[in-house]
């Protein structure tokens, strides 16, 4: 795991589905970033990450650096923001694509 500063949350992907997961306060994996438990202490976070790294359930357990702003928690890096939110709605195809004619 890469070295980073606290605070952090713990994340992984679900082995069976690949879905992004975050570790909640009860040490249960959940899908929403908002429900992730924030660790202010890095050594506790690392120890917890090792303890919950069940290879038959999850893949790629890692710490994600976060910042706390106005009482809400956000990932520090845009990659993790995208990972938490999923791709933008702009990626979804529609069948009402243009029939562009410029003449």
């Amino acid at each position: 795991m890469a070295k980073m500063g606290a605070p952090v949350v713990i994340s992984a992907n679900c082995l069976a589905t690949g879905a992004v997961l975050y570790l909640g306060p009860e040490r249960r994996w959940r899908a929403d970033f908002a429900g992730a438990h924030v660790y202010e202490d890095l050594s506790t976070a690392n120890a917890t990450a090792s303890a919950v790294d069940d290879p038959s359930a999850v893949v790629g357990v890692e710490l994600v650096a976060v910042k706390i702003r106005g009482g809400s928690t956000e990932p520090r890096h845009y990659r993790e923001t995208i990972r938490a939110q999923g791709p933008g709605a702009y990626v979804l195809p529609t069948e009402t694509g243009d029939t562009h004619v410029s003449v």
């Binding site: 992907n13 790629g60 702009y90 195809p93 529609t94 009402t96 410029s102 003449v103």
Partner: protein, 560 residues
């Protein structure tokens, strides 16, 4: 409506051996997935096994990359891909610059069933990942192009059969890409491949010019011609020699220096050729003629018959009467070797859409059209569009109408909005920035002036690996992470043809907002500097060099 007679599709057909082989691989993979889920295999053990079957773990989900050999699909296969998209994914797929399709949301537990469904379609995902020989790509107009020297697809199939599950080449130092072009114009970007093959006139009708050591990515290099007019009978032996020399001498200690282009530079061309000749001498009996019998069998399947003659009829009436149809024909329709036919490029680049994506309904529309008016054949182009290679002129009005109903009639092929973009950070675990919204922003921003701008290629990659081919775009855009912010570097003057040129890096990168302003200035400068309205952006850059355009990008006044 008068449709042409059905006929045998000129494409490779699986035999019993092929079907057995693919189904056996599905069974093996199903067992591997079960053992992974039960905990009998660790992720470290399982990862190379899933990658050998095209299954990646991306940012949000698993991704399955399905091989579409040399970009050729039968209508029923396209319909089958639509079914997979709906049943096991989120109702769409992404056509790639390697002429494949990717599904972005499959569950691992479903992937054995998806591979079984693919096997039912005579398709698979073998060697779409890993350090192996990947899908051989070729000209999307193969068998239809006016300038064709020979149809490259039988040779691509021959190479596919040689390279698939080749016992020596499953663990190469790095992935290995081959492209083959059969036209006077190179539409397969052969010099940007580890091996590029170009069909040329030769002693026995055709031969191959062979290029080695091209590639984009972190260290972009234009391939070097290593053999001229290599006889067809010697092709596989030489391919085997080239890949074997690479397998033996290529670096395995540093993945960034592991491609054949680095080996070629390290050895020098003469030493590399000497190593190939040495290998050929030591293995002169490796190919004994059986491979030529196999080529003959493959070629029989691709034999091109004359298409049934058709009167132009409705086409000529509509082209005069309907400006929208006329514009679509001018942009998206290419002359065919048979004058009463044409090749139709279906744009997957509607303004504001993710480049290369198609919904299941759109895939079915394209499959239906292929079946009804296109001899059941479709192609995936490396520019991330779909091609109906053989459509009678008389059927073009019908094709246009049906495409229009499904958002597939965008008349923009070759224009700025027909841009290439990799999935970028919206999906890809390797990406350092997003590509799709940048492409969409460019396409919508410049839509009102794209006819004015004329032919212009923009290629966008979300990381240094260059899946968006940014090095060979008129304008290349590379997304990077600069101090925790998305940053976009611009290159100018890239070219993908036989005179391949790598774009020149202009300078410091831009934020997304800065990039749009920089492009505004760049296009203003181009419109000022071009000699005539028909001088394309690439021609103006070639004539004047990149300096005036660099100055425009960075907002520096220029006297030119």
């Amino acid at each position: 409506m008068c449709f042409p007679l059905k006929r045998v599709i000129p494409m490779y057909r699986y035999n019993d051996f092929d079907r057995h082989f693919v189904r056996e691989r599905v069974a093996q993979y199903r067992d591997q997935v079960e053992r992974r889920l039960s905990g009998a295999l660790t992720e470290e053990e399982f990862k190379p096994l899933r990658l050998m079957n095209g299954v990646y773990l991306q940012l949000h989900a698993y991704m399955l990359r399905v091989a579409i050999p040399y970009g050729t699909l039968a209508a029923h296969q396209m319909r089958g891909l639509a079914d997979i998209a709906e049943r096991w994914d989120r109702g769409y797929g992404h056509f790639t610059t390697r002429q494949n399709i990717q599904f972005n949301w499959p569950k691992l537990v479903d992937t054995p069933d998806i591979l079984a469904a693919l096997a039912d379609l005579d398709m698979h995902a073998i060697q779409t990942s890993g350090n192996t020989i990947r899908n051989v790509t070729t000209d999307h107009l193969a068998g239809a192009a006016l300038d064709e020297i020979a149809d490259p697809r039988p040779y691509a199939e021959w190479i596919r059969q040689w390279s698939t599950d080749h016992p020596e080449f499953q663990f190469l130092p790095r992935k290995f890409k081959i492209a083959i072009s059969g036209g006077v114009t190179d539409r397969a970007v052969v010099r940007a491949h580890d091996i590029g093959l170009r069909l040329v006139p030769g002693m026995d009708g055709v031969a191959f010019d062979v290029y080695v050591g091209g590639g984009l990515g972190r260290t972009p290099v234009v391939g070097t011609r290593i053999f001229d007019q290599l006889p067809v009978s010697e092709l596989l032996a030489h391919l085997e020699a080239i890949v074997s020399v690479y397998n033996l001498h290529g670096r395995r200690d540093n993945k960034y220096k592991a491609r054949i282009k680095i080996l070629l530079q390290a050895m020098g061309l003469n030493n590399f050729k000497a190593a190939i000749n040495n290998y050929l001498e030591r293995n002169c009996d490796a190919f004994n003629g059986l491979e030529l019998a196999e080529l003959a069998r493959i070629q029989a399947g691709f034999e091109i018959q004359a298409l049934p003659p058709r009167e132009g009829g409705a086409y000529w009436q509509r082209i005069d009467a309907d400006p929208a149809f006329r514009e679509w024909v001018e942009r998206n329709v290419t002359p065919h070797r048979q004058e009463d036919y044409a090749s139709v490029t279906i744009s997957l680049k509607a303004h504001g859409q993710a480049p290369g994506d198609a919904s299941a309904a759109q895939m079915r529309t394209m499959a239906d059209l292929a079946e009804d008016v296109g001899f059941s054949e479709l192609r995936v182009s490396h520019q991330q569009n779909i091609v109906l290679p053989h459509v009678a002129l008389a059927d073009l009005p019908e094709v246009f109408e049906r495409l229009r109903q499904h958002g597939l009639a965008t008349a923009n092929i070759g224009l700025i909005s027909d841009l290439i973009a990799c999935p970028g950070m919206d999906y890809c675990a390797l990406a350092t920035a997003r590509s799709i919204p940048i492409g969409q922003a460019i396409a919508t921003r410049y839509q009102p002036m794209e006819q004015l701008l004329g032919p212009l290629s923009i290629k966008i990659s979300g990381c240094i690996n260059a899946c968006g081919h940014h090095h060979v775009g008129d304008i290349g855009i590379l997304g990077l992470d600069k101090a925790g912010m998305e940053n976009y570097q611009v290159t100018l003057g890239g070219r993908p043809g036989l005179d391949t040129a790598l774009g020149e890096k202009m300078g410091p990168g831009f934020s997304e907002a800065e990039l749009m302003s920089a492009l505004d200035r760049l296009f203003d400068r181009y419109l000022t500097l071009r000699q005539t309205s028909s001088e394309a952006f690439a021609e103006t850059v070639l004539r004047l060099g990149t300096e005036p355009f660099k100055a425009a990008l960075y907002g520096v006044e220029h006297a030119a």
